[in-house]
């Protein structure tokens, strides 16, 4: 399935977002190929989530361009992103806690009968199918998702993203609220989706996760892109150096590196 073509499936060029006078994202360019995981790392307030929201349609960019399959696109809202095959798993999961799993998976894209009513049975059936693939132990299809555990809620959010044949998946801190076993589960899922040819943007503050899963790593600091590196060409220390000092590996002196380790 994995087709590595020369041109990227997603290219974000010179993206800028500002809130009032603050430049949350300041001229950042990143790209993503099919079957690739690009990690987006940086400290709090680095602008990772804001950058990615311009791709998922949650917040518009002030300037910059987005290309999907080398065609320029404009994304004003989440629906337009979804129509382009871009699905997002938000850090907050963005689940309606009072609605059951099928209702959340199909939120905003409900299946309907010929008379236009909600087709709950069909939605539950489809949700059971996708869950069978993601998390076979998931059985609570009738309960409001607010009653479920963190891992199960995560499964619902992921099911919503992958059910609609996403091509690009954005995962914002997918393991932040999970225990070790569930984190491993999400990791194997990411590998599986990657093998199926999806491109994945992975936002994470966990450097181990990042080295485990990513092909390339883009580092941001105070709204600017420090740089993008290939995972096999850097060490964890070097990436930490990028995150904290905002310097590429070859710009860092031995003294600074020693400093970093206190």
């Amino acid at each position: 399935m994995t087709v590595k073509t020369g041109s990227p499936m997603v290219e974000m060029r010179d993206i800028r977002v500002s809130f009032g006078g603050v430049h949350a994202v300041d001229g950042v360019s990143i790209d993503l190929h099919p079957g690739e995981v690009v990690a987006l790392v940086g400290g709090n307030g680095a602008g990772k989530s804001t950058l990615i929201k311009t791709l998922s349609g949650a917040h518009p960019a002030n300037s910059g361009q987005i290309f999907i399959d080398s065609r320029p696109v404009t994304i004003h809202n989440p629906i337009e992103a979804k129509n382009l095959g871009i699905e997002t798993i938000y850090q907050t999961l963005a689940l309606a806690d009072n609605i059951d799993a099928p209702g959340n998976v199909f939120l905003g894209r409900e299946l309907r009968t010929r008379l236009g009513s909600l087709d709950d049975s069909a939605m539950e059936s489809a949700t059971r199918k996708v869950m069978g693939r993601l998390n076979p132990r998931f059985l609570n299809f009738k309960k409001a998702v607010g009653w479920l555990s963190g891992g199960q809620r995560q499964s619902v959010a992921i099911a919503r993203a992958v059910h609609f044949n996403a091509r690009v998946l954005i995962m914002d801190e997918p393991t932040a609220a999970l225990g070790p076993a569930e984190t491993a589960q999400v990791g194997s899922l990411i590998r599986q989706l990657k093998d199926e040819g999806l491109g994945i943007f992975l936002i994470s503050h966990d450097i181990h996760d990042v080295f485990d899963l990513a092909d390339r790593i883009s580092v941001m600091l105070t709204g600017k892109l420090v740089g993008t590196v290939k995972k096999e060409e850097v060490t964890k220390d070097q990436v930490l150096g990028m995150i904290i000092m905002g310097k590429l590996p070859d710009e860092v002196t031995q003294a600074e590196l020693a400093d970093l380790h206190g």
């Binding site: 998922s56 989440p78 963005a94 309606a96 609605i99 909600l118 539950e124 059936s125 998931f138 059985l139």
Partner: protein, 431 residues
């Protein structure tokens, strides 16, 4: 919430809880029915045996109708984390407008008691109600003023408008066809039709249980045990047919029955001629069914609940939250107009005080019926039952002879207690 998944199947237990679980009956609903039973029996004893009589229950059903109709809309308002304090005043201004239209404006154009008067009046009233609601909804959703403030303003504005429309005069009488909307001795469907509706309702209950079962089997989902389905069907039918039997055992007043019999050349049978279900009650039942359908089977209802559960998630899911809120308030206005039609028809007059304090009864009905002020939770059937609880309280107090100020005190206390119970319940659930 960060614990590992616990999905070990519970061993089958034969406790009351598991019996209810098998039938999928909500314990809160059961609590409400319990409260109703206590109120009814309590007032029956206090009133010396006049509460649980066909006559009183028939009147109770008619009095409940308007509050129940409006409470179904209030559920959706509260589910979206909003409130509408203006329903009583809107009822006043819409009712007054309909009264003026049919009593003073239309007769001048169409002539007195024209057959089209009632329907023109009704449609105009419904449009006006929806428009007022949509206006509130626009300010709330698009301008961003909290619904509490917008509808608090509405409470004053529309009450003042109701007075200004006729300088405080009472407008009467209503058009003779329009009066039928309010019930009374002519505005009811009679005994045989009431039985027919009861039987249809029974068949409907069985039909929906069977369809639900077939759907679940088709997709291979778990089925309720057969005994649970059968018990549900039997309980449902007994309640429906029992209610019809009670309603039908309230006869027409003698003079009316004699006139009615004479017109048809029949004898008045012993026990009299049954009035049957009153029109407002029928309207309330239709509204409750339609609203249940809208809330549970249509996308609009799903979106209303999604907005209440997590507004951000609804937005990210691509739901047009502002438009949905506006439509919810427009729907509320529409339902208020139905309530206004029923109330003016029943009073046979429009007065500027019409619907005063109705907002309290409507909100209390919704909250007692299990609608959570935290948003996202509520049912139409619960609200209708809540309306019955509130009206039972009020008419019970009237029957027992409680002074009006004391009645208000009781209603106020009940409202606060209902919200307190809801808050405690949610806190327990959150743990």
């Amino acid at each position: 919430m960060v614990t590992a998944p616990q999905e070990t199947a519970l061993p089958p237990k034969r406790s009351v809880g598991s019996l209810l679980g098998a039938m999928e009956i909500d314990t809160r609903l059961l609590g409400m029915v319990g409260a109703l039973v206590v109120i009814w029996i309590g007032f029956h004893i206090l009133s010396g045996g006049t509460f649980l009589t066909p006559r009183n229950l028939w009147n109770l059903s008619v009095q409940t109708a308007a509050v129940a109709i409006m409470a179904t809309g209030m559920v959706l308002i509260i589910v979206t984390r909003n409130i509408d304090l203006s329903v009583g005043s809107m009822l006043g201004v819409v009712g007054m407008s309909m009264a003026l239209l049919q009593a003073e404006i239309l007769p001048g154009i169409l002539g007195f008691d024209h057959p089209l008067t009632w329907i023109i009046t009704l449609i105009a009233g419904l449009l006006l109600g929806a428009l007022l609601g949509a206006f509130h909804g626009f300010i709330i959703a698009y301008v961003g003023v909290p619904s509490f403030i917008v509808t608090l303003g509405g409470l004053l504005v529309w009450r003042g408008a109701a007075w200004a429309l006729a300088s405080g005069r009472t407008i009467a009488p209503m058009d003779s066809s329009f009066q039928l909307l309010g019930g009374g001795s002519r505005g009811r469907i009679g005994g045989p039709a009431s039985w027919a509706i009861g039987v249809i309702a029974c068949l409907g209950i069985v039909f929906f249980l069977l369809v639900g079962r077939r759907q679940r089997r088709k997709f291979g989902f778990g089925l309720r045990p057969v005994w649970a389905e059968a018990t549900l069907a039997i309980i449902g039918c007994v309640v429906v047919l029992g209610a019809v039997a009670v309603i039908n055992s309230y006869p027409m007043p003698e003079a009316l029955a004699e006139q009615y019999a004479a017109e048809r050349g029949i004898e008045v049978p012993p026990g009299g001629i049954a009035l049957g279900i009153a029109n407002p009650v029928l309207i309330a039942i239709v509204v409750a069914l339609a609203m249940t359908f809208l809330a549970t089977r249509r996308r609009f209802g799903r979106y209303v609940f999604a907005i209440g559960g997590n507004p951000e998630a609804a937005n990210l899911g691509g739901i047009k939250t502002k438009r949905t809120i506006l439509m919810t308030f427009a729907l509320m206005g529409f339902l208020v107009a139905i309530g206004a039609a029923v109330t003016t028809a029943r009073l046979n007059a429009g007065t500027s005080g019409l619907g005063t304090l109705a907002e309290l009864y409507v909100i209390a009905a919704a909250v007692i019926g299990g609608t959570s002020l935290g948003g996202g939770v509520g049912t139409i059937s619960g609200a209708a039952l809540g309306a019955l609880v509130m009206q039972s309280l009020q008419s019970g107090m009237v029957l027992v002879g409680v002074d009006a100020p004391l009645q208000d005190i009781v209603v106020g206390i009940v409202l606060v207690i209902a919200v307190a119970i809801d808050t405690l319940y949610r806190r327990r659930v959150a743990k």
